[in-house]
Each structure stands twice: as structure tokens, then as C-alpha cells.
């Protein structure tokens, strides 16, 4: 019994000490003494202290495969931007373990440690719980993968550079109708995921607008990997194309199995399909798949080409759309900081309100009055193992 008490006392005091020792981690008092404002603007802007950038991503848990890429891209972006000179960024990336409760605590600690801006979190449903906290505390947030409706409505400190499904999909559907003459489709989507469900809603609306007949709507679970039963059912509808709103984990097996059971009609996907894994995973089956997206990996935009090269060299795998949007997010923040030449929270917020046609790896982007991103969406098709623009 005494030994147990000893263990309890020891662990209890260690925990207590750890907690109390946390008051202010190094380098966080910059927020209070205003040394984050600098002189000059734009390329000539010089800020003495490092601007603290905080990011909350899902590095473990269900969304880990997206979070990893986001973190890597962000670190790359910070490295590239720090090399420019004049303004230095100090990046802290924390894991929310795909648990909103942890994300809330991470945001709390970022806010009190003086982060100038928070990037993330990975999932929209988490953002709905964390962003209000940042809004209340007056800390700007830039979502780089939140596409759900209502995110920027949370408040005027909330921005995002991830193009919503509503902005991408109508274009995709129009392209399918115009270029492929699609008149009757089967729609498949994962109805237990916020991203794919909102994607479905965008598809449904766009299809109606274009007067395309929906022969059947089939749902699956985001954890599913065997779609043969569903696909056989889809086959029966004899449609011109199959429209899928799913994440990449579903996209690869779905496309592979579709071809396997003999479905030759075009498959059209949303943002979730926009990943190099589609090609590496589905191989030949991916040929001809049409993907509506916010980022064109094949774009010859100089920044984009360099980004893909560097990312692949540093991390031994090609970046996906999540990574691209994270990188672009840092570019946008840099623009905002240099614009007002200040790393203060409110100044960054003001700077973000001024983002117009800023060149990034996504192309030229602007943030509109609703703090949502605007830039051209693309319709891609897989040709010879590459994503190319559909024409």
C-alpha cells in the first residue's frame, strides 16, 4: 500500500509540475510588446521578431493521412518563405488526433501562447467547434482544408483558402455535359462524412441545373472498400456516367472494381479524387476518370512546378490537394503580413481582407468579402497516368 501511495504521489506531483511549468513557453511574449510590427511594405518589409504561426492538424487518428501532408507542405512553405528574408516565421504544428475535444485544447493553448494566426484544423466538423473559440479571442484562423458550409460565417476572423465543393462541382458537371454529352447518371456518395455529403449536395444541385437525369443514388460508408455490390447495382441503370463524391480511400478501390466488373462508362469525381494516389493506386483503371478540383497538379505555373519538385524530393512522395492548399495558405499569410508589415493578429486579419489575385501554387487567388477563396476551379482527366486539363 505504501509503495502504491508513493507511486501515486510521485506521478501526481510530476503531472502538477508539468502543468504549472507551462505558463509561458519561450518566445511568446512578442504578442504583448508590439514588436511584431515592422518597417517597409511588401518585399521590403522587415519585422524584427519571428512571427509565430500555429497549425493544428490531424497527425494521428482517422484523418492522419491528410494531416501529414498538410504539415509537410506547411513546413516546406515556411522554409521557403524564411529564405526570402526580412520576415521570419516560426511554425508550431500540433496534433489534434482527429478528436475535436483535443483540437479545442490545442486552440486554447495556441491562443494563450500568442500565436499570430492559426492554420487548420484538418476537418470541417472540428473547425465548427474550434473556430468560434478563436473568433471570441480575436485570433485569425485560415482553414486550408475546410470546405463545409458555414465555416467563414462563424466570424470575421475566420478565413479559408480551400475552395468549397459548391465552387468546384458545377463546373465539373457542366464540363461533363458539354464535352461528354452526359444525360443520365448514377450518383454514389459516402453519406457518413461531412465532406462527401456536402459534395453530393453540390452534385445534386448542379445536375438538376443541367437537366441531367439521376437514374439512381447509392450511398456507402466512408470506411467501405468493397463496392462490387453497389457497382453491380449501378451497372443495371445503364447510365452515361457514374458520379462519385468520396474520399481518396474510397475512390481507388471504387474505380478499380468498377473497371473490373466491366463498367466502361466515365467516372466523375469531386475534390476527394484529386490525389496522386488515384493514379498510383488504380493504375490503368484510373485512365479517363474525370476529377473536378481546386488544384491542378499538372499546371505549369512556375511556383507549382517548383513546389511539386521540392515536396517530392524532401518527403519522397508527391503532394496532394491538401498539401497544395496548405502551402498556398502560407503564401497568402505571407502576403497579408507583408502587406501591413505586421505580424499582429488584427493586422493580419486586415491584411487577409486585402488578398486579391495573389500568385500561389493554386494559381492566382483572392479572398472575397465573405472571407472565402476565389480562384478558377479545374476539370481534370487522367490521361496516360497524369492529370491533365479536360478539353
Amino acid at each position: 500500500m505504501r509503495k502504491k501511495l508513493l507511486i501515486a504521489a510521485a506521478s501526481g506531483s510530476t503531472l502538477l509540475l508539468a502543468l504549472t511549468a507551462c505558463s509561458t513557453p519561450a518566445g511568446s511574449d512578442s504578442a504583448s510588446d508590439g514588436s511584431l510590427t515592422g518597417t517597409g511594405t511588401g518585399a521590403e518589409c522587415v519585422i524584427d521578431s519571428a512571427v509565430p504561426i500555429a497549425a493544428a492538424f490531424s497527425l494521428t487518428g482517422a484523418a492522419a493521412q491528410y494531416g501529414e501532408g498538410q504539415k509537410n507542405a506547411l513546413e516546406l512553405a515556411v522554409k521557403d518563405l524564411n529564405a526570402v528574408g526580412g520576415v521570419t516565421y516560426e511554425l508550431t504544428v500540433e496534433d489534434d488526433a482527429t478528436d475535436p475535444k483535443q483540437a479545442i485544447q490545442v486552440f486554447d493553448s495556441f491562443i494563450s501562447s500568442g500565436a499570430s494566426i492559426i492554420i487548420g484544423p484538418t476537418l470541417s466538423n472540428t473547425a465548427k467547434q474550434t473556430d468560434p473559440i478563436a473568433q471570441d479571442a480575436g485570433v485569425p484562423v485560415l482553414g486550408v482544408s475546410n470546405t463545409a458550409a458555414g465555416i467563414t460565417d462563424i466570424g470575421d476572423y475566420i478565413f479559408r483558402d480551400s475552395l468549397t465543393e459548391d465552387a468546384v462541382i458545377p463546373q465539373t458537371v457542366k464540363a461533363a455535359v458539354d464535352k461528354l454529352g452526359v444525360q443520365k447518371v448514377v450518383v454514389m456518395y459516402a453519406n457518413d462524412d461531412a465532406f462527401t455529403e456536402s459534395g453530393y449536395q453540390a452534385f445534386a444541385a448542379a445536375l438538376e441545373d443541367q437537366n441531367v437525369e439521376v437514374a439512381d443514388t447509392l450511398t456507402f460508408s466512408k470506411a467501405d472498400t468493397d463496392f462490387r455490390a453497389l457497382l453491380n447495382k449501378a451497372k443495371q441503370s445503364d447510365a452515361d456516367a457514374i458520379i462519385v463524391s468520396g474520399l481518396i480511400d474510397a475512390a481507388v478501390p471504387l474505380v478499380t472494381q468498377a473497371r473490373e466488373i466491366g463498367i466502361d462508362t466515365p467516372i466523375i469525381g469531386g475534390n476527394g479524387f484529386n490525389s496522386p494516389a488515384l493514379i498510383s493506386g488504380a493504375g490503368k483503371a484510373a485512365e479517363g476518370v474525370i476529377v473536378g478540383a481546386a488544384w491542378n497538379s499538372a499546371s505549369d505555373n512556375e511556383q507549382n512546378v517548383k513546389f511539386i519538385e521540392d515536396f517530392t524530393a524532401t518527403y519522397s512522395s508527391a503532394p496532394d490537394q491538401f498539401a497544395a492548399q496548405a502551402y498556398a495558405g502560407m503564401q497568402i499569410i505571407d502576403q497579408a503580413v507583408r502587406g501591413t508589415c505586421s505580424g499582429e493578429r488584427d493586422d493580419i486579419k486586415a491584411g487577409l481582407g486585402d488578398i486579391t489575385d495573389v500568385p500561389t501554387v493554386l494559381g492566382d487567388v483572392s479572398l472575397n468579402s465573405n472571407r472565402d477563396v476565389e480562384h478558377d476551379a479545374l476539370v481534370q482527366v487522367v490521361e496516360d497516368g497524369q492529370f491533365v486539363i479536360l478539353n
Partner: protein, 291 residues
């Protein structure tokens, strides 16, 4: 017919996963929730072996069997044996296996990252076969054959071999078994080893079927497998096979006729029905009350 066959193939994988569960539960009265992590580990390690060393699939299966067996022994030693004799061994075993599973998954993430991994594209020929007017892939047939053979071997082992007799004795009365001189520890280890070996191979077969393995695949199948073992009867090996096949077929039929959003309800609805009407499952034995 196409539906039926799709269901059989799907169900055979559920069954292979479930049979590991039910073996440990039937013999040792423990629910091993690290099984899902073993399933995932089998898949990811299998992919690594094929990618790194170019091992053909038929050789991979025995390698993964051994790997799974080793994991099983570790699970028994670390998560279950220290709890033997404790009055709360049931609850505690549940939690310790959960903890072990979580550790295993984190280590897998450390080794392989969080991305979905796949077998190299040429690992298996994608020939298609015609059976009774329905098209299935050769791979699916092979998976079914391997699943059924493994289960038959296991059933034979438990019913006829000396080891099997020892296992069944322990299932009846562990205390008496040790008094009779049976090495309960060694038999427990072997049971876990067998169970995990099957679970790991199930992971490989599952991944071959859909060519995708991520850290979460175990969880998704685990719940369905729990439904399978209840429907088939806890501790019954043929029950796990039949239960798995029934679940696979009913799911496929449900998707086709009722609608896919409610498909998962089928598994759980079936589960509930069985628990209420025939709690011992289709093949299980009703436990008598002791006074």
C-alpha cells in the same frame, strides 16, 4: 447469382476475421480487441514484404501466418497472462487488449506512415472467371479457397488433435485442466497464436481484395465481425464461417433491394434479432446455470 457470389466472397473475409475472435473467446473466455490491430498489421507488413522483397503471394501467406502467430503470443503474454486469476479478468482483459492494439497501430504508423498503402500493381493477375453466369475475379475465388481451407484445418485441429483436446478441456474447466497436468499457459499461447495468425492472413486477403490498406481497416471490419460471432454462436468455429457468409450475403442483398444507406443496419439488426430469439447463436451451446 452474381449477388450471391459477391456476398459469399465478402462474407468469407468477415468469417476469417471472426474466427480468430471466436476461437479465443470459446477456449479462453476472453474477448481480444487487439485482433483488429493484428488484422491491420498483417496487411501492412504483408505489403511491405511484397514491395521490398518481391515475394509472391503464395509464399506471403505462410510468412504472414508466422508473423501473426508471433503477435498472438505477444498479446497473450503481455495483455492477458498477467491478468489470470484476477477477479475482474474480463473487463481488464478487454481494456488491456485495447491498449495493446492502440500501441500496435501507433507503431505501424511510425513504420509506414498514415497513408493508404497498396500492393504493387502486378502482385496478382486480374483474370476474371465465369461461374454460373456471374463474373468473379480469380483473386476472389482464391481468397475464398484460402479462407475456407484455413477454417477447415483449424476445425480439424480443434476437434481431432491432441492440442485441440487440450484446448477443449481448458474451455470446459481451466482449473481442472491444470490439475490434470495440462500446460495451460502453453495452450493459451497456442490458441492466441492460431487466432492471430488467421487474423493477420485475413488482413492480407482483405487488402488483396480491395487493394487498399490503411490504419483504420481493422476497426471497420471488427464491428461486423462481432456481429458475426454472435450470430454464428460464440465459440463455435463453423458458426463463425456460416455467420460470416450469412452476413455477407444479407448485406449484398440489402444493398440491392433496400438501399445502401441502411446497409450496416443489417448486420446489427441481425445481431439484435439473434440475441433476443436465440442468444447462443446459430451453432452455440447454451450455457447451463451452476448453483
Amino acid at each position: 447469382m452474381q449477388l450471391f457470389l459477391d456476398g459469399i466472397f465478402l462474407g468469407s473475409i468477415y468469417a476469417l476475421f471472426a474466427i480468430g475472435f471466436t476461437l479465443v473467446f470459446g477456449i479462453l473466455d476472453r474477448l481480444n480487441l487487439a485482433h483488429a490491430a493484428v488484422f491491420t498489421a498483417g496487411a501492412l507488413v504483408g505489403i511491405e514484404i511484397v514491395t521490398r522483397f518481391g515475394v509472391p503471394i503464395w509464399l506471403l501467406i505462410p510468412i504472414v501466418l508466422v508473423f501473426g502467430a508471433v503477435l498472438g503470443i505477444l498479446i497473450e503474454r503481455i495483455a492477458f497472462r498477467p491478468l489470470a486469476g484476477r477477479h475482474d479478468a474480463h473487463f481488464a482483459g478487454l481494456i488491456s487488449s485495447i491498449a495493446f492494439g492502440a500501441i500496435l497501430l501507433s507503431l505501424l504508423q511510425a513504420l509506414y506512415g498514415a497513408d493508404t498503402r497498396r500492393f504493387p500493381a502486378d502482385a496478382f493477375p486480374s483474370t476474371r472467371v465465369e461461374i454460373f453466369g456471374a463474373t468473379v475475379s480469380l483473386l476472389q475465388v482464391i481468397i475464398l479457397i484460402i479462407s475456407v481451407s484455413l477454417m477447415v484445418v483449424l476445425t480439424w485441429l480443434v476437434a481431432k488433435s491432441k492440442l485441440g483436446r487440450g484446448m477443449r478441456t481448458i474451455a470446459e474447466n481451466p482449473h481442472a485442466a491444470s490439475v490434470l497436468g495440462l500446460n495451460v499457459g502453453r495452450i493459451s499461447s497456442t490458441t492466441f497464436a492460431l487466432s492471430s495468425a488467421l487474423g493477420a492472413v485475413a488482413g492480407v486477403l482483405f487488402t488483396l481484395n480491395v487493394n487498399a490498406a490503411s490504419l483504420g481497416i481493422g476497426n471497420a471490419v471488427e464491428l461486423k465481425a462481432l456481429a458475426v460471432i454472435v450470430v454464428g454462436g460464440m465459440g463455435s468455429l463453423p458458426g463463425a464461417l456460416v455467420g460470416g457468409l450469412i452476413l455477407g450475403v444479407t448485406e449484398v442483398l440489402a444493398v440491392n433491394y433496400i438501399g445502401s444507406s441502411w446497409r450496416d443496419m443489417v448486420a446489427f439488426g441481425l445481431l439484435f434479432l439473434i440475441l433476443i430469439l436465440r442468444p447462443q447463436g446459430l451453432f452455440g451451446a447454451r450455457k447451463t446455470r451452476e448453483v
